[in-house]
């Protein structure tokens, strides 16, 4: 095939790209424009994200500075009352003790604080967007491609504008994590509401429900199992993302992993990695067991 090129005009063999000079010019003007935009709004942006910073710092301080037995007890209580499963509770106790013994308690608390805030924000953002999507095909048509981009764009790429806008620190890390973790929340909320039985909706209409009453009494409760799956996915994805977010200054287990990569600390890397896995499994099992408990009414007794 190589020989073919000699007999053909040049532009058929080498893709006729724009000249380097013109590409560079466009790139530079976009970069400069973006930078200028960020610079002129930097104060407004800082003021806007300040509450996030406070909340994050407050939670982190609370987790790190409280005596560990109290945190452990609260955690076990949440796990137990969420799952009503003694096995999951014992598993949680054992893995948290192991984490503490290996000296990772504080880092784990920092990561927990981060994941908690990220999940809360993802839920607060994701559910309303999901509801809007379910109510309008047009909104769904607009939001779906955006979600596709958010999910497939390598996370390092959108770290660049995030860092340009917010600088290095916890908040840009948080925003990057939320961007990464919110799509399943939105998608599954949308899906859950759209899958609600048409007959039941018709019944709600026939009794004269308003749109809000339908959402509150029928759509949200029936979509809840799917929404719970979305929350579960969001937690898992936030945990996966905290390692990447450590590149822009988020502390905790992710930072340790990053250092281990840079220095080829095999053991440190795996210990921190396993700590993340342990937290992930605790969250996953607890939220799934809780979700299943919400479905108590679907047990069939009669045939």
């Amino acid at each position: 095939m190589a020989g073919l090129c000699e007999s053909l005009p040049d532009f058929l063999c080498k893709f006729p790209a724009f000249s380097d000079v013109s590409i560079r010019a466009v790139r530079k003007s976009v970069d400069d424009g973006f930078k200028a935009l960020v610079r002129s709004y930097v104060n407004a942006i800082d003021a806007m994200v300040q509450p996030l910073q406070w909340f994050l710092n407050y939670l982190e301080r609370l987790f790190v500075s409280s005596p560990w037995p109290i945190i452990l007890l609260i955690m076990l209580a949440i796990v137990y009352f969420g799952s009503r499963n003694i096995k999951i509770t014992i598993g949680t106790a054992l893995s948290m003790l192991a984490i503490g013994l290996l000296g990772l308690w504080n880092d784990t608390m920092v990561t927990l604080a981060m994941v908690t805030v990220c999940t809360l924000i993802a839920i607060l953002v994701g559910i309303p967007i999901g509801i809007l999507m379910a109510r309008s095909d047009r909104v769904q048509g607009i939001v779906n491609p955006i979600l596709d981009v958010m999910q497939t764009m390598p996370s390092f790429v959108y770290l660049i504008p995030v860092v340009m806008i917010f600088g290095i620190g916890k908040v840009p890390g948080l925003i990057a994590v939320v961007i990464y973790a919110v799509p399943p929340m939105i998608r599954l909320t949308n899906l859950g509401i759209r899958l609600v039985d048409k007959e039941v909706l018709e019944a709600a209409d026939a009794f004269g429900s308003s749109g809000w009453q339908k959402l509150k009494n029928v759509q949200m409760p029936l979509a809840l199992p799917t929404i719970m799956a979305g929350i579960n996915q969001t937690i898992m994805m936030s945990l996966a993302m905290v390692v990447v977010a450590s590149m822009v200054g988020v502390g905790g287990l992710g930072k340790n992993v990053l250092q281990a990569i840079n220095n080829q600390f095999f053991t440190v890397g795996f210990l921190n990695g396993f700590a993340l896995v342990a937290i992930a499994i605790i969250f996953d099992r607890t939220s799934q067991a809780y979700g299943k408990r919400l479905q108590k009414h679907s047990e069939v007794i009669h045939g």
């Binding site: 007959e199 039941v200 019944a203 009794f207 009494n217 409760p221 108590k296 047990e299 009669h302 045939g303």
Partner: protein, 347 residues
């Protein structure tokens, strides 16, 4: 509370994006098949005119695809008509604003569905209060009223069960209790009993008839089962391909079927349970003979009474015990068997 009649007038429904464009063509005789093939629109209902009696049970009967479920959904406008009107108490439901319609649905109508359509995450009691809850009735009041109706449909003790824990018949009782708790004038029942097995169905029909005796609601009942239609209906309309083929009382339909389609339907009917004695009685000649039989008695009951009394002749008496006609056992029997002319027509 006085129930009002529902008047359906010149109702057309054409499904499809531009249904309104084809109304005139359909009025001028464009057929269902042609509309579908040429223009890709589905003819749901065509020129429906029915007046549904106030405080009575109106049965709309037809096979699947005849448009009966579409018709009932026009009464509370779950489906918007393409043309025509549905009048209740002088108001056209099809022209109501969104707010008026919501109020109409909340206070004037209640609906029972074929597949029950209960809220699976709510208990029997929570399902039953639903209508009152969205009207904004206080919790104590709505639960008191709901509990009464749960008891009336025979579900006391199951208030805290979830629908999935109940059998089909019991679930439909919940559906009925939910509709009755709404205390609305109009009760819409969309194939409400079609998903139930035969014995439970008859049982539920009895529940409805008993309740109706005292409630006197305007009931619209959809079914594909002629026996059910004849048992329940004060008036029956038979739908086919979106058109009313015949309407009248059960007796009228059984004795004078309008065409072969209906003849085929009524062929299998137990006439003894539909036809009344006064329909077949002969004029009185001379003194009344034999035992008295009350007006309104169906043939089967009359035959049973006469056989057990060992009588071959009887006279029909009206409400004031005055004799109005004469009847013989042989006349009863010949009216109970399907006439050969019907057999031949249907075959």
């Amino acid at each position: 509370m006085v129930s009002h009649a529902i008047e359906v007038r010149n109702l057309y429904k054409i499904f499809g994006p531009r249904g309104g464009d084809y109304v005139d063509a359909v009025k001028n005789g464009l057929g269902k098949a042609e509309l579908n093939q040429k223009y890709g629109h589905v003819l749901g209902l065509r020129d429906i005119n029915i007046s549904m009696p106030a405080g009575g049970i109106m049965v709309v009967m037809g096979l699947s695809g005849s448009g009966k479920s579409t018709l009932i959904r026009h009464i509370n406008r779950l489906i918007d008509p393409t043309a025509g009107e549905v009048l209740y108490d002088g108001v056209d439901v099809c022209k109501m604003s969104e707010n008026d319609l919501r109020e109409f649905r909340r206070h004037k109508t209640a609906m029972v569905f074929q597949k029950f359509a209960l809220l699976p995450h709510r208990t029997v009691l929570e399902n039953t209060v639903y209508g009152l809850e969205i009207q904004g009735v206080g919790q104590a009041e709505r639960e008191k009223r709901a509990t009464q109706w749960i008891a009336r449909v025979g579900l006391s003790g199951f208030e805290n069960h979830y629908p999935n824990q109940l059998s089909g018949g019991m679930q439909q009782r919940v559906g009925l209790a939910r509709a009755l708790t709404n205390d609305a004038d109009i009760l819409l029942m969309d194939e409400a009993y079609s998903a139930l097995d035969p014995l439970i169905r008859v049982d539920m029909q009895t529940v409805l008839l008993d309740l109706q005796k005292e409630l006197k609601k305007t009931v619209v009942f959809i079914t594909h089962d002629l026996d059910e239609a004849l048992r329940l209906g004060d008036k029956i309309a038979i739908l086919r391909d979106g058109m009313v083929v015949q309407q009248g009382t059960g007796q009228e339909i059984v004795l004078n079927p309008a065409d072969e389609y209906i003849t085929a339907f009524v062929k299998e009917v137990n006439r003894g349970r539909v036809v009344n004695v006064e329909t077949i009685m002969a004029p009185l000649s001379g003194n009344p003979e034999g035992m008295p039989i009350a007006k309104g008695t169906v043939l089967e009951m009359a035959a049973r009474a006469m056989t057990s009394a060992n009588q071959t002749l009887a006279h029909v008496v009206d409400e004031n015990n005055r004799p109005v006609g004469a009847i013989s056992l042989s006349a009863i029997i010949s009216s109970m068997v399907t006439p050969t002319s019907h057999e031949a027509k249907a075959a």
